[in-house]
């Protein structure tokens, strides 16, 4: 009886209002479906994020019960600290080297191994395999590989009559040690994504260009590269962000040294918070770093807008 009267009332409503009501119910349904994910993000990402903004304006040391409000003092101290610029420089140098080399080697491998046969499949498997190994384990192994007296790297170099290289205990080489482990672990993944991109390029373009007399190099420059640009942009942004956030290899292989030559941003944030107990200042650094990454990512998007070709 009651149901009938509700239905009758619905029918009496003007059509526009009825539609709005249905739309609201539909959006509520959609919203309720994403609620668990939002809740998770809210608790573990957005709440800590906002809380860090708050902490960055305090002098909190992680153990003190009281958090004294200090205004912009943490930001001021950071911006006047020459170490900030040193750490930023190291982080950028690492990121540029890592991203450029990972993408270049990944693309080269994808081009070389873009053949369907059992041998090539096995080769791809071997190159991709390090991706599954944890960064901590890989770094521990590389500490030994790069050991200047007992490492296999220097032993191999000596076979070619080369002098042993101080890898991790030299200010100029330590960063290369970090890049080596990152490349070893990362190129396989980049190769696979590039391969997927390569396979998505229609054969017709190559056929058409070869009829027009283009050689392999010209095909690569004018067909492959432009049509791979969405894949390249994706890899560029993701590897840029992950390189900027490098931490585990630094923690295991160099401790930010020697002489702070590998002190990257996230490692500095970690040390400031958990070694020096400066939660306030390290949160301020997190916020600064957040805006730096956002700004650079926007720059990458804008610059790449003209260069990225989406097929169709």
């Amino acid at each position: 009886m009651e149901i009938q009267s509700v239905a009758a009332e619905e029918l009496r409503l003007p059509t526009r209002r009825r539609k709005t009501r249905y739309r609201m119910i539909a959006s509520f349904k959609d919203f309720s479906l994403v609620c668990p994910a939002l809740l998770f993000l809210g608790v573990f990402t957005y709440y800590p994020l906002l809380f860090s903004v708050y902490i960055s304006f305090t002098d909190w040391n992680l153990v003190k019960p009281a958090k004294k409000f200090v205004g912009l003092l943490n930001y001021e101290k950071l911006l006047t600290d020459p170490k900030l610029y040193h750490v930023l420089k190291i982080t950028f140098v690492y990121t540029i080297l890592d991203v450029v080399l990972t993408l270049a080697i990944g693309l080269l491998l994808a081009l070389l191994l873009n053949v369907n046969s059992r041998v090539y499949n096995t080769m791809r498997l071997f190159i991709f395999m390090p991706h599954y190994i944890s960064m901590v384990i890989a770094s521990m192994v590389f500490v030994w590989i790069l050991n200047n007296q007992y490492g296999i790297m220097n032993k191999s170099l000596s076979l070619f009559g080369m002098e042993p290289v101080h890898w991790l205990d030299s200010t100029s080489n330590a960063i290369w040690g970090l890049i080596m482990v990152s490349l070893w672990k990362g190129v396989g993944f980049t190769m696979i994504i590039f391969l997927a991109g390569l396979r998505g390029i229609p054969v017709e373009y190559y056929e058409a260009s070869s009829i027009d007399g283009a050689n392999k190099w010209q095909q690569f420059l004018h067909v492959t590269l432009p049509l791979l640009s969405p894949t390249t942009l994706f890899l560029l942004i993701t590897s840029f962000i992950s390189s900027m956030q490098v931490f585990q290899s630094v923690d295991v292989m160099t401790d930010g040294g020697p002489l702070e030559s590998t002190k990257v941003m996230v490692y500095w944030i970690y040390q400031m918070a958990f070694r020096d107990f400066r939660a306030g200042r390290s949160s301020a650094l997190v916020i600064l770093f957040f805006f730096i990454i956002i700004a650079l990512t926007i720059v990458q998007f804008v610059l790449s807008r003209k260069k990225v070709h989406y097929e169709g």
């Binding site: 990402t45 709440y47 800590p48 900027m244 292989m253 070694r275 107990f277 957040f290």
Partner: protein, 436 residues
């Protein structure tokens, strides 16, 4: 997607901030009163958690101690929870304090006492020590003081190490060399042991780690200097503080001393020692057992040679009670701390863990005598028992001493001038120490 990426950047932020969840009102720990509640005869069952950093090799010892504790206090159940190495344990402890869900007892690494002490998260044990008439004079005084801060005893020494020299006794006996007891004896000792052809050194006399200032501080203090003065200023530019590094420079130039710097340097030093490319290495006493098990030759142990003084610095961790737990847990936790650090099981605990005994009476006991006859290597430390002392205490000290580490790095890697670097380090350290 973009927002998602931006959010992922905050992995590190989450690390910081997750530890603060639920603490916006401030997790104030009430200070323990000067007087402990009178000893309770209450035997109502109580369960307490013990957060520890005892790795696998120490678990047998821990299980033995827990079983013995249960026999003595059947109404108290201790739940041991391994929380990883000291740094991991500390991080989890901070998160626990923020969430107000803390264990009753925990390990604490000795260098972090000032920071935890300032936060007031540990219970001051002094009132309980007084109430139960614990004989604290029986502890090595240096070890005991290392766990006190601002006149409060925030913990007691549990797994204590000191820096020592570990030497190749077989090699020394063969060469007819005795390990040097003073800085003066180092020159003739090293001259005899070093093997050198031109500038190529095939055997160094000794090795000192340059990667951790724990070792350099010992040399600095033994030379009559200090890393931190009484008024909390850097002392590294004092003539007596610089002296050791000048000696090091000279010994390195002569090929006597190998000094590693950087992350892999510890592995290199150990391997060189096993390959007999170095006669003795300065390292933590916690590794004596490991060296003895892995070396193909006989191992000897030497307390760091002295000059103006002869001390060694304490390392390892202590045991502390969290101030936030209810009174019945505090009482149970105190009983556990008392038991774990008591003289009765002190030798057995040391034997199991490879760390040092902490009680004088344990050392002189029948069990102690037997221990030393079985492991004479540890004797070197106990002949200097009260000279194992704590590192300087200041909340900013761990960050400040990194400045000296960089200075030593400049000297070792870039051949910079010792005096200039130490002067600059003192200035840099003061800036960090004053930065609040």
């Amino acid at each position: 997607m973009y927002r998602k990426k931006a959010a992922s950047l905050f992995a590190v932020l989450a690390l910081t901030a997750v530890s603060t969840l639920g603490c916006s009102s401030g997790g104030g720990a009430e200070e323990a009163g000067a007087v402990a509640p009178s000893a309770s005869e209450d035997q109502t069952p109580v369960t307490i958690q013990y957060w520890h950093a005892h790795a696998d090799v120490q678990l047998e010892g821990l299980n033995y101690m827990l079983a013995e504790f249960k026999k003595k206090y059947p109404w108290i159940t201790v739940e041991p929870v391994y929380q990883g190495a000291y740094a991991d344990l500390h991080k989890k402890l901070l998160a626990a304090v923020a969430a107000k869900e803390v264990p009753a007892v925990t390990n604490v690494e000795v260098a972090s006492i000032p920071n935890f002490g300032e936060g007031g998260i540990f219970m001051d044990l002094n009132p309980y020590i007084k109430r139960d008439k614990m004989d604290v004079n029986d502890f090595s005084q240096g070890m005991l003081k290392a766990y006190a801060y601002n006149n409060k005893q925030y913990g007691l020494p549990l797994i204590v190490s000191a820096n020592v020299f570990i030497y190749n006794k077989t090699m020394f006996d063969k060469e007819g060399i005795k390990p040097p007891q003073t800085w003066e004896e180092i020159e003739p000792f090293a001259q005899k042991l070093t093997k050198k052809e031109g500038s190529n050194v095939s055997r160094y006399a000794f090795s000192v780690p340059g990667w951790d200032m724990w070792y350099a501080e010992t040399w600095m203090r033994n030379g009559g200097g200090t890393p931190l003065t009484d008024d909390n200023k850097s002392g590294v530019d004092q003539p007596n503080s610089v002296k050791f590094m000048k000696k090091f420079r000279e010994w390195m130039d002569k090929g006597y001393l190998q000094m590693g710097y950087g992350k892999g340097a510890s592995d290199t030093m150990r391997q060189m020692f096993f390959d007999e490319k170095v006669g003795m290495v300065m390292h933590t006493s916690a590794l004596i057992k490991w060296y003895m098990e892995n070396a193909k030759f006989e191992i000897g142990v030497l307390f760091p040679p002295g000059d103006q003084k002869r001390i060694s610095h304490i390392g390892g961790a202590g045991i502390a009670v969290m101030d936030m737990v209810p009174q019945n847990q505090k009482e149970a936790a105190w009983k556990f701390v008392e038991f774990m650090t008591a003289p009765d099981n002190n030798i057995k605990w040391a034997d199991y863990t490879g760390y040092l005994p902490t009680r004088k009476s344990a050392i002189t006991s029948a069990e102690g005598t037997e221990y030393f006859s079985k492991k004479p290597q540890y004797k070197a430390v106990f002949e200097n028992f009260d000279n194992v002392i704590g590192r300087p205490q200041h909340p900013n000290y761990p960050a400040a001493i990194e400045v000296l580490k960089n200075a030593i790095g400049n000297i070792l890697l870039d051949n910079k001038d010792v005096e200039t670097e130490f002067k600059a380090a003192a200035k840099g350290m003061n800036e960090v120490l004053e930065d609040n």
